[in-house]
């Protein structure tokens, strides 16, 4: 029930700050979503939606940073494996 699904705002339909509404596209399925909690959300933003309400705007820069960090972790793993392979050529692994 705490699941929130991401979607993209394709239209703002109601700009009343106390009841802000917009159309959000969830991979082809479009629904009217309440965006009152996201006064700054604009068309094109990806938002997380829970029980019909937008809760947060996705930050693509933060997403990129995490994926980059994971990339580094992968490279470090590889380096360690290579190093071990050099140091223990026969066993190939420490």
């Amino acid at each position: 029930m705490c699941l929130a699904v991401p979607g993209k705002i394709i239209e703002l339909t109601h700009l009343d700050p106390e009841n802000r509404l917009g159309i959000v596209d969830f991979g082809g399925i479009r629904k009217s979503i309440n965006l009152t909690f996201l006064p700054e959300a604009q068309v094109g933003d990806y938002v997380t939606v829970h029980v019909g309400f937008g809760l947060s705007i996705m930050d693509s820069e933060e997403a990129r940073l995490v994926l980059e960090h994971l990339e580094q972790i992968g490279q470090q793993n590889q380096q360690k494996l290579d190093e071990n392979a050099r140091r223990f050529p026969r066993s190939g692994k420490s």
Binding site: L3, P6, F37, L38, L55, L67, Q76, N77
Partner: protein, 363 residues
């Protein structure tokens, strides 16, 4: 825009699993609070891919599992009154109260309906002015702002035949309660990302400090979850308790200010009985007096449902505290199944017993 799919990339999953294995030198028990995350662990078999030193404890983050039976009894009692309709989220309708669940009550003539959003409930009330429409509201801080805003809308539009049976609960006090139990085995927490999307991380600093545990805010895709585990293990191994946000693409340090403000405006914090966990100080939200006309407990205060102390076989309390795994329950997959649940954790799509039944039953 990085898509959700990037957070399922199998190669990165492998790298992260390697990194976790390299870093883990001791036995650690990590609790994921959120039942949604429990399901992701089991669905993808991530728990089995982690080093055997890491024991995952499944937490109480299943809203319908922790909703006290008294609330369900009250909802049933209301639904039995003439010209009333009780609406709620699907899972809630199948959870047994002290003797009956809402769907069975419906089969016996009570008026009960499922909705996806509290706004649907308000719409029904507008369309059917002769009926008292009661939304049975359950859930954590993720869901509570939606209910609060619905109540504000009901007041603005003067929808007088609408009210809310508010059983909302707050997560941080439950974490404190779990850690205060001397029998607890929790070394670190994966905090529920969407609760924090609303509330931010402020409430966790004190808990992390007092109990000297790492609390890592974690998302829901396989990579999000493993990244949360990785950061938690790094903090445990490096002896660095504290709070960390591993879900920053969705969750901000301060949370959602507008949602918090509406919560404040409509609800006040109260002690609340959690099913299986008992009374949790400051563990719930109740509707403020200013909005009292939308509080179903007041509107139907003349009703007093009899909660029978049923002989409750379910061991859900232990499961929800991470003291027992679902498949250690003697009734698991024997007397208790999703078709014939003995307890709420077997009903809900976020319940740990339902997750084990779905993904682990035949092992």
């Amino acid at each position: 825009m990085k898509t959700q799919g990037d957070f399922r990339d199998p190669e990165k999953v492998r790298h992260l699993l390697d990194a976790i294995a390299q870093k883990t030198s001791k036995n650690w028990s990590i609790m994921e609070i959120c039942g949604g995350q429990t399901h992701v662990f089991l669905k993808y078999g991530l728990d089995k891919l982690l080093p055997s030193q890491i024991d995952l404890l499944h937490g109480p983050g299943c809203p319908v599992c922790v909703t006290a039976a008294e609330f369900i009894d009250m909802a049933i009692q209301i639904a039995r009154q003439p010209d009333t309709l009780v609406v709620s989220f699907g899972d809630m309708l199948r959870v047994p109260g002290s003797c009956l669940d809402l769907l069975s009550a419906r089969a016996e003539g009570a008026a009960v309906q499922m909705v996806y959003s509290p706004l649907d409930a308000l719409e029904i009330a507008q369309k059917e002015p002769k009926r008292q429409v009661v939304f049975f509201a359950v859930g954590f801080e993720t869901t509570a702002p939606a209910i609060a805003l619905t109540i504000v809308n009901a007041q603005r539009n003067q929808i007088s035949n609408f009210s809310v049976l508010c059983a909302h609960v707050r997560v941080p006090p439950a974490m404190t309660a779990l850690l205060s139990n001397p029998a607890h085995r929790i070394d670190g927490f994966l905090a529920a990302g969407h609760v924090c999307t609303v509330m931010g991380s402020n409430e966790y600093y004190e808990i992390a400090k007092k109990f000297s545990v790492p609390i890592v805010i974690t998302g829901f895709e396989p990579l999000d979850i493993l990244y949360g585990v990785y950061r938690c293990i790094v903090r445990l191994e490096d002896k660095q308790p504290g709070v960390e946000n591993a879900y920053a693409r969705v969750t901000r340090e301060q949370g959602n200010a507008t949602a918090q403000q509406i919560l404040q405006q409509v609800f006040q914090v109260v002690d609340r009985n959690w099913r299986g966990l008992g009374l949790i100080p400051l563990g719930g939200f109740q509707i403020r007096e200013e909005y009292g006309q939308f509080d179903a407990l007041r509107r139907f205060s003349h009703l007093s449902p009899v909660s029978v102390a049923a002989d409750d076989l379910c061991m859900g309390g232990k499961v929800l505290q991470g003291l027992m795994k679902p498949d250690q329950c003697p009734y698991f997959a024997t007397r208790c199944s999703p078709e014939h649940p003995l307890g709420a954790p077997m009903v809900s799509s976020e319940g740990a017993c339902a997750a084990y039944y779905r993904y682990r039953r035949n092992e």
